[in-house]
Structure formats: structure tokens, C-alpha cells
Symmetry: C2
Subunit: 145 residues, 2 copies
DNA sequence: CCTTGAGCTGAACCCTGCTTCAACTTGCAG
DNA sequence: CTGCAAGTTGAAGCAGGGTTCAGCTCAAGG
């Protein structure tokens, strides 16, 4: 019928391997009903979830973080556009943050090229936030991990 | 003396664990001379390499890719500022690409929120590049991996 | 009814990027 | 010269994110 997707169909539609879909299910990222014969049948709404998962992964968010974000969606009813919008706004913040970081990295790199430095003692890249460690000569890398 | 750093010193200066430094050496990302007693002694220039490695990692580049980029530096002489600048320019392109991608992702997401869609059949996010698959109804995820 | 492709499960395996450990050896301060 | 921090190695382990495989079962067209 119209509502239920097999795992093969979901895989084809989402571009995600069946094995990955089963894996996501084990992690609680998506869910499926079962037929009498124990085969998975996905609501079409799961496609949204899968799309969200892949998008978030692209941005470097772990499956665990994604799971807890998806948990914020109402379990009792089908999430509305508003529900998704809330999630999206949170994602947007993360994107902004990532973009900000990359821009700084790029600018710092440009600065280094411009000054021909990479000289370890003054470079922004080596000392983001101007944190020269106090002990001994020379700088320390203080990149966030 | 001034030139040689022990692994402990390099670790402290770079903010990278000793175990990680040994690992990088195994992968051919950095190198070290040895004392008579087989201890590693690093040229100060290795600090630059380590810094580059961490920066590139932040941008999501794999160690293997980083290695091959670093291989483009001259092995015979100490890399000059110009040598590094060339590498930096290549990195800069990658940063620009990443930034571009993130911006698109964010804008697409905003668009989805605005239109309340996430409706699978028209959304940019699900069909970046407007590639609606030809067979059957509905769209396919075509996110690059 | 029978065949064939699609699905199911658990366990094992893979790759990346490290960390930890045991068992030793160096090297420098006193 | 000695003692102890700092260094060495190979092997094993870990976390994340999956894939592969063996051995079966389902479902649907001919």
C-alpha cells in the first residue's frame, strides 16, 4: 500500500545501505513495524528521520547526539512540521558554529601565508585566542579537540 | 641544544599526545632522528608539520590525505615559507569548499523550515542539485558521502 | 506448488585514529 | 655512580560507524 516501505525501498529512497538502516534501528535512531513474517515495514515518515541523520552526520555530529536530538520529537504522535522546525533551529546553530570555526581557520591560514610566518612564536593558528603558554620559550598548540 | 626536541617536549608544545606522535610517525606524517640510545629527537620544523596535521584534521581531512599532501613538501631541504604557502593554498581551497557546503546546508535547512516542507518530494536537502531519481514516485536521497 | 529474490538474525570483521600496557632501556641531576 | 623520570617497542584494546556472512524464512509471480 501507500504507507509502508520495505527496507529495500527505504534503502533505495534514502541512499543508505540496508545494513546501515538496521544499524540505525539498533541504535534507536529509526523504528519499523513488523509484518506477520517479521519483516520491517517503515512509515514514510522514517524517510525524514533518515534524511536528518545523514545531514547531521555531514556536519560532523555523532549518531549518539543525533539520537538524543531525535528523541526530542514527540513519540506519541507523528511529528508536525513545527516539531521538525524546532529541531532544525537547533541544527542551524550548530551549522553557524561550524561555519564560524572554519572561517576563522581559513582567515588564520591566510594570515600565516601573508606574513610568511608559520613561525610558531606568533602565529594565530598555533595560538588561537592568543594563548601563549606561560612556561618556557615557544608556543603551544591549543587547538580545541 | 636548540635544535632537538624530545618526544615529551614536542608533545607538550604541540598539545598532541606522545602516543599520537608515534602513531603519526608510523604513518609517515612526521619523522625523527634517533640518539645513540634510540630515543627520538625532533627538528623544530616538525612542530609545523604537527600543527598542519591538527589543523587539517579539524577540517575533516583524513590522515592519509594529510600524509600525501605533506609528501609534496621537499624532502631534501627544509621546507621554506613558500613551500608551506603552497600547501596552505591547497588547504584554503578545501576550507572554502567546506564553508560553501555548510552554508548551502544551512540555507537549505532554513528554506525547509520556511516552507514547512521536509516533504521529500520537493526539498532541496533531499535533492541537492535537483536530482530527482527517475523511477517511481518520490525522491531519493543523493547526499554525497 | 515451486522457485527466486528479498528479508531476518547474530556474530564476526573492517577501518580510522588513537590509547594502554608490560617489559625494558636511556640519560641526566645530584 | 646511582636513582628515577622519561623514552622504547609490539601487541592489544577501544570507540565509532558500519559491512559481510552463514544459515534460514518470507512472499509473490508463473
Amino acid at each position: 500500500m501507500h504507507e509502508a516501505l520495505t527496507i529495500g525501498q527505504l534503502a533505495a529512497r534514502s541512499g543508505v545501505a540496508q545494513s546501515a538502516l538496521r544499524y540505525y534501528e539498533r541504535l534507536g535512531l529509526i523504528r519499523a513495524d513488523r509484518t506477520g513474517g517479521n519483516q520491517r515495514r517503515y512509515h514514510r515518515g522514517e524517510l525524514r528521520r533518515v534524511a536528518f541523520i545523514r545531514i547531521a552526520q555531514q556536519v560532523g555530529i555523532s549518531l549518539e547526539e543525533i539520537r538524543s536530538a531525535l528523541d526530542s520529537l514527540p513519540a506519541s504522535r507523528t511529528p508536525t512540521a513545527d516539531d521538525w522546525a524546532q529541531l532544525s533551529m537547533a541544527w542551524r546553530d550548530r551549522l553557524d558554529e561550524k561555519i564560524r570555526l572554519l572561517n576563522r581557520l581559513r582567515d588564520d591560514l591566510d594570515g600565516c601565508i601573508g606574513c610568511g610566518c608559520l613561525s610558531l612564536s606568533r602565529c594565530n593558528l598555533y595560538n588561537p585566542g592568543d594563548e601563549l603558554a606561560g612556561e618556557g620559550p615557544g608556543a603551544r598548540l591549543t587547538l580545541p579537540r
